[in-house]
């Protein structure tokens, strides 16, 4: 007999925080996202970087020299993996992390003050510019931080730390009544 398996998000039982309430500072959590780790083969770093830059509607996050996390809202994990394999054939290794990483989107006028409670990096827009991404420590948890707008940041964390990071962000945002919910677009 064949079965259908339903996927669970680690924050399933914790969201929404307070139904209906959306404060100016808000934590938005996509339920599902195709994510892949890309590791350039030795000597192919530049080629892979160029290839990724050219590729359309995926987001590219820097994690280390020759290594990236690729995010796609539109593709399934399988599609993303397949497309990346075609794009980067013989130049990079690709590992599906769609279930291994959880994405948090933080936005609002006080995001910098909230993040300053956990992240040591200077997030002044002149220093950490829009489009920048990097692995940083947030409190005791390692995350990939990306600036997606003047007052918008995206944090990607390992799945097993998702609840812990969520709780940390809530405490960090307490001063500004941070709200949180799953993304509308699912």
């Amino acid at each position: 007999m064949t079965r259908t398996y339903i996927s669970r998000h680690p924050l399933e039982d914790l969201l929404p925080l307070e139904p209906g309430i959306r404060a100016v500072d808000h934590l938005d959590i996509p339920r599902a996202m195709a994510i892949a780790a890309v590791m350039a083969m030795d000597g192919e770093e530049a080629a892979v970087a160029a290839g990724l830059a050219a590729s359309g509607d995926v987001q590219v996050r820097f994690t280390g020299p020759g290594e990236w996390l690729i995010l796609s809202q539109s593709e399934t994990p399988e599609e993303l993996h397949r497309n990346l394999s075609l794009l980067l054939a013989e130049t990079a290794y690709i590992v599906d992390q769609s279930d291994g990483r959880i994405v948090f989107r933080l936005s609002g006028p006080n995001v910098r003050r909230i993040l300053a409670k956990g992240i040591a990096s200077d997030l002044h827009p002149a220093v950490f510019e829009i489009g920048t991404s990097s692995n940083v420590l947030c409190g005791h948890i390692s995350v990939n931080l990306a600036r997606t707008g003047e007052n918008e940041f995206e944090l990607i964390v390992m799945r097993s730390f998702a609840v812990a990071l969520f709780n940390d962000l809530r405490v960090m945002g307490r001063e500004f009544d941070l709200s949180a919910d799953f993304s509308a677009q699912g």
Binding site: G64, P65, S121, D122, S134, V136, L137, S142
Partner: protein, 92 residues
Amino acid sequence: MASLIHCPHCGVRPKEEFSIRGDASLVRPDPEASDEAWNDYVHIRSNPRGRYREHWQHAAGCRRWLVVERDTFTHEVFSVADAASAAREAGR
């Protein structure tokens, strides 16, 4: 140094993001090298008061091993380089 390290890949980062392994001037001997060479590699340290090269890993960042050249008394950092590049330049 003890507060901030300038990672060549990620920029200025707090000490908390790094883990430290020790003397970076040591070179793993050839399998055929003498017992003394191997003992020195694993157990003997120059431990200078002054300029020193040390292995730090940007564990919470890019995961790269770095060679931090610094002063063990003033804690002034002279340079931070990627360990693999450093090793390749050293002909390894």
